[in-house]
């Protein structure tokens, strides 16, 4: 049985745990969420409805074992991000149930803080931060309440808020100054970063149209003044050369020496983690020192992108990739699997026979696409074994991967070296912060054809459905196709709202979440410090801490200096009388001083006696309350403004 006094403290802790736990529950699987909730509900019922005994120990043990078993079954392990969080969530609930002493309260609150940290592994949005702040506020209020019985909710919350507010300057200084690491201290668990959907390095029918249903942001681009027109916004991902009849994969590295070009466009890409190495620059990028430019013209990072990165990139966008090419790669770019797509192969051979030069053959193929009555759709009919044949001669409805794949098959059949390029195309300008937002639904596939001195970009989708390239996915699709609401934004206000929310998210990502070792270095350099010198960092941190401490202690010293309120009010009377040459002696009491002043100047003395009496009462009587002090101050003010004393 919980004592009455402790019960309200426990209620507070329960509320704190609940607010910490709730945002986490959707991330857990249903059985685990239930395991985490059961103790919480039990506790709430026990506290608010009926003061019952805590569940017997065997029940608690059973819950703990059950939760551990469920975690093991669900995730196959007890370690890692989600299983760890699940175990922690159940633990907090159980701790809550047996929480009786002050120590238990502290343990529960500390587990709450851990839980919040764990939740940040899943989600670090601005909303999460707000929720975490609420939960912190409540947790600390609960600790205050545990320490000080009978504290009202309002006072505890304001006390907790004040503590957090005072802590804010220090937290901000530490956040900026505390050295960040370039790489993790130890290997991260396999599931440290959730697999996010996105472009992959294989392409088969349906793999990109699946992405088009996702309104998730793939990356954002800031172009500054000069936004390139939609038709040139090709963000280059993996180059796929190898075809097995159904899916496309990257071929062996070309080995060619890629020509460096003079960049014409500077831009900043903020890439969401995609677990891949490609950096999705515009075409013909210029690599920075820690980036790699492959022979296929793809800009790569040295490590897979595991967290959001912000990159300054330079490119020379155009539809030709000027380079040398090895014979081996060209051979691979002409290869076709045996026994697939006989009709496409025949058509290719026919085109090759009728046209001699490569450009003429290319034109003929484009012509075929243009005149073939092809349609662009999100829900293409299923294709059989010969995907190119089925698409080119039967269904004629497809998504960009169908167009690109069929085009490359045709081109190769006609003797042209050709390959598929996957990436993103288009994007939408956010009206609020002027960044180009590229979503998963902007994923695209196009083709490149070797014309002797350069790879020429050919976008078969653009040939068949030109509006896809100029107007984006939405423009090109018939209205009947299902698209997620955020992608299909018809109403202007929805679009404005979404733009605003995404601009906030982008600012948050850039300035709060994106503050990593690299940004810290450049930011500190702008301020004129070097973070590589550890002494500088220590001096800065120490200076910030001392400054903060001074800030906190300053009001304390000011208050020590400050005289009591009644005395400050009386000082005004003394000053006025001093102007008339009447000074209060050091040993002279207020009443005798007033009497002396009245005797010297009868006009001044009016009302002075009662003021002095009130002052003595305030000084020597029982400690005055607010009302008495205020009325004394009013009395003094009216005496000062009275005509008798102003002469």
């Amino acid at each position: 049985m919980i004592a009455n006094e402790d019960r309200s403290a426990t209620q507070w802790i329960t509320a704190a745990v609940a607010i910490t736990l709730l945002p986490l529950l959707p991330a857990l699987t249903l059985p685990l969420a239930a395991f985490a909730l059961v103790p919480l509900i039990w506790q709430a019922w026990r506290l608010w409805r009926r003061p019952a005994a805590m569940p017997p120990r065997p029940v608690l043990l059973l819950l703990a074992v059950g939760a551990a078993a469920a975690t093991g079954l669900q995730y196959g392990s007890m370690f890692g991000r989600l299983p760890g969080l699940a175990v922690l969530a159940v633990l907090v609930g159980l701790k809550l149930l047996e929480s009786r002493t002050r120590r238990d309260a502290h343990v529960a609150v500390q587990l709450c803080f851990f839980l919040q940290l764990g939740y940040f592994l899943i989600e670090q949005s601005a909303l999460t931060a707000v929720l975490a702040a609420c939960s912190c506020l409540l947790c600390i209020a609960a600790l205050l309440r545990v320490e000080q019985h009978g504290l009202s909710l309002r006072r505890a919350l304001s006390g907790s808020g004040r503590l957090l507010l005072w802590a804010a300057p220090l937290a901000a200084a530490l956040f900026v100054l505390f050295p960040r690491l370039d790489r993790p201290l130890w290997g991260l668990p396999a599931d440290a970063f959730s697999a996010s959907s996105g472009l992959s390095d294989t392409m088969s029918p349906g793999s990109i149209s699946e992405l088009s249903l996702s309104g998730e942001i793939a990356f954002r681009v800031e172009f500054g003044e000069h936004l390139p027109p939609p038709a040139t916004r090709y963000f280059r991902g993996p180059v796929l050369t190898f075809f097995d009849g159904r899916s496309w994969r990257p071929g062996p590295p070309s080995g060619a020496r890629i020509a460096t070009v003079r960049p014409t466009t500077d831009y900043v890409v903020t890439l969401e983690p995609n677990q891949q190495r490609w950096l999705l620059g515009l075409e013909q990028p210029v690599p920075a020192p820690d980036q790699i430019l492959t022979a296929e013209g793809v800009l790569m990072a040295r490590e897979p992108i595991r967290s959001r990165v912000r990159l300054h990139l330079q490119s020379h966008p155009g539809d030709r990739l000027v380079t040398e090419e090895t014979e081996a790669h060209l051979r691979a770019a002409r290869a076709l699997p045996q026994g697939f797509n006989p009709r496409a192969l025949a058509l290719g051979r026919q085109i090759a026979d009728q046209n001699v030069s490569d450009p003429a053959r290319l034109e003929a193929i484009k012509d075929f696409l243009r005149r073939g009555d092809f349609a662009y759709t999100l829900s293409p009919p299923l294709l059989g074994r010969d995907t190119a044949d089925d698409f080119l001669f039967k269904t004629r409805h497809g998504f960009c991967e169908h167009f690109a794949s069929a085009f490359v098959v045709l081109a190769r059949a006609a003797g042209l070296p050709a390959r598929v390029v996957a990436g993103y195309q288009g994007g939408e300008l956010n009206a609020v912060d002027r960044t180009l937002v590229v979503r998963q639904s902007d994923a695209h596939a196009w083709a490149e054809v070797w014309l002797g001195d350069a790879w020429q970009r050919v976008d078969p989708t653009a040939i068949a459905a030109p509006r896809r390239i100029d107007g984006g996915l939405l423009e090109a699709l018939p209205d009947t196709d299902a698209l997620p609401y955020l992608v299909r934004t018809d109403s202007a206000w929805m679009r404005a709202l979404r733009d605003r929310a995404e601009a906030v998210a982008h600012a948050w990502n850039t300035w709060v979440l994106g503050y990593d070792a690299q940004r810290q270095r450049s930011f500190m350099q702008q301020l004129g410090f070097s973070v590589d010198d550890w002494r500088t960092v220590i001096y800065l941190l120490g200076g910030a801490a001392i400054l903060w401490q001074g800030l906190i202690l300053a009001p304390h010293f000011v208050r020590l200096q400050r005289r009591p309120r009644a005395e400050r009010a009386w000082r005004r009377v003394q000053k006025r009388l001093a102007r008339h040459g009447i000074e209060q002696g050091s040993g002279e009491g207020a009443i005798s001083f007033a009497a002396r002043a009245g005797a010297l100047d009868s006009r001044l003395g009016t009302g002075l006696d009662s003021l002095a009496a009130a002052y003595s009462r305030l000084c020597f009587g029982p400690s005055p309350d607010e009302a008495a002090l205020r009325s004394f101050e009013r009395q003094i003010s009216s005496w000062l403004s009275a005509p008798s004393s102003t002469s």
């Binding site: 002050r102 120590r103 502290h106 343990v107 500390q110 803080f113 851990f114 919040q116 940290l117 940040f120 592994l121 670090q124 999460t128 931060a129 975490a132 912190c136 600390i140 600790l143 205050l144 545990v146 320490e147 000080q148 019985h149 006390g159 503590l163 957090l164 005072w166 802590a167 804010a168 220090l170 937290a171 901000a172 530490l174 956040f175 505390f178 960040r180 690491l181 993790p184 201290l185 130890w186 991260l188 440290a192 967290s307 709060v512 979440l513 994106g514 503050y515 990593d516 903060w548 401490q549 906190i552 202690l553 304390h556 208050r559 020590l560 009591p564 400690s623």
Partner: protein, 324 residues
């Protein structure tokens, strides 16, 4: 380290903290130099938690993790400053000890005040080992704190070292100070629980007749304690259970002069038991409003009555055999 060694170490530490000050005259103001702070057990675990959170944030490069960790670190440090400030400027204005009996807890009353105009969060005061009397302090209003100290042997004692501590505001940090106020307490011999009736008028005749009464008159009623009530009449058992101070009042049988003397207890084996019985007799006589006299080797009190009379007798009993 063995337990006595730890105790010895603690004793030395406390002496150092008090800087070998002699017992001080009141009021005692707590200044910077005598207020100490250390993290509590929960504070240490809070620190450990912060370290773990920092490492996790570093490893996963969690921006919000850093923010949370640094906020909580700031809060922890504020808790330290607040605990320190909660004690700073506190002053022990006055204090007195009620005379007590050997073997019973010593009741003291302390008056704390503060002049800086800050209201003080929960504080505790008591012996260094067990500061158990809790109180709070409003700004500029002296507050009376009653506190029980552990039982002492009979005699006249200084209160000894007291500890004022606070875990305000979060319980993560304890701030404390040692006080050794110059307050003395009388500890009378423990009264014998069931003494035979006191010898009357010098003759031992009526002794036998009343022996069975066992010195207890009828318990008549209980009423709230009023200052000046005999300590003998306080319902100690209730108090020890956390109840309020309550005085037992007895019906007073009519009596005559009693002569309480050392020789009457000569059957008892040692000095302490004799003192115990004499003490019980004195209390009995006093509570019945009788006139009585007391004689001890080297001390004699003429026949008389009243609280002052009893006090002199009890103090003589307390001092008996010790250096003056």
């Amino acid at each position: 380290m063995s337990r006595p060694a730890i105790a010895a170490l603690r004793e030395r530490l406390q002496r150092w903290m008090l800087r070998n000050r002699p017992p001080e005259a009141l009021p005692i103001l707590l200044r910077q130099r005598r207020v100490y702070v250390l993290p509590t057990g929960t504070g240490l675990s809070y620190g450990g938690m912060l370290l773990a959170m920092l490492i996790a944030s570093l490893n996963y490069n969690l921006a919000l993790g850093f923010a949370l960790t640094f906020f909580l670190a700031g809060v922890g440090h504020l808790a330290l400053l607040r605990a320190h400030r909660n004690l700073l400027g506190l002053s022990l204005q006055a204090g007195r000890a009620e005379p007590g009996f050997a073997g019973a807890p010593l009741q003291i009353e302390l008056v704390f005040s503060e002049e800086s105009g800050r209201e003080r969060g929960p504080l505790r005061v008591g012996t260094p080992e067990d500061p158990s009397a809790g109180f709070e302090l409003a700004a500029r209003s002296p507050t009376r704190v009653a506190c029980l100290l552990p039982a002492r042997p009979r005699g006249r004692h200084r209160l000894g070292r007291l500890r004022v501590e606070t875990r305000f505001p979060l319980g993560l940090v304890v701030a404390w100070a040692y006080l050794e106020p110059d307050i003395e307490a009388w500890v009378y011999p423990a009264p014998e629980p069931h003494p035979p009736a006191a010898p009357q008028g010098g003759t031992g005749e009526r002794n036998a007749r009343r022996a069975n009464v066992a010195g207890d008159s009828e318990l008549e009623s209980l009423r709230p304690y009023r200052p000046g009530d005999s300590l003998r009449r306080i319902a100690w058992r209730r108090l020890s259970r956390g109840g309020p101070l309550i005085t037992k009042s007895f019906s007073d049988p009519v009596g005559s002069d009693l002569s309480l003397n050392w020789q009457a207890c000569s059957a008892l084996p040692d000095v302490e038991t004799r003192l115990s019985r004499l003490c019980a007799w004195v209390l009995q006589a006093e509570s019945r409003g009788l006139r009585w006299s007391l004689s001890l080797p080297g001390f004699a009190l003429d026949s008389g009555s009243g609280p002052e009379h009893a006090r002199r007798a009890l103090e003589a009993l307390a001092k008996f055999g010790t250096a003056p």
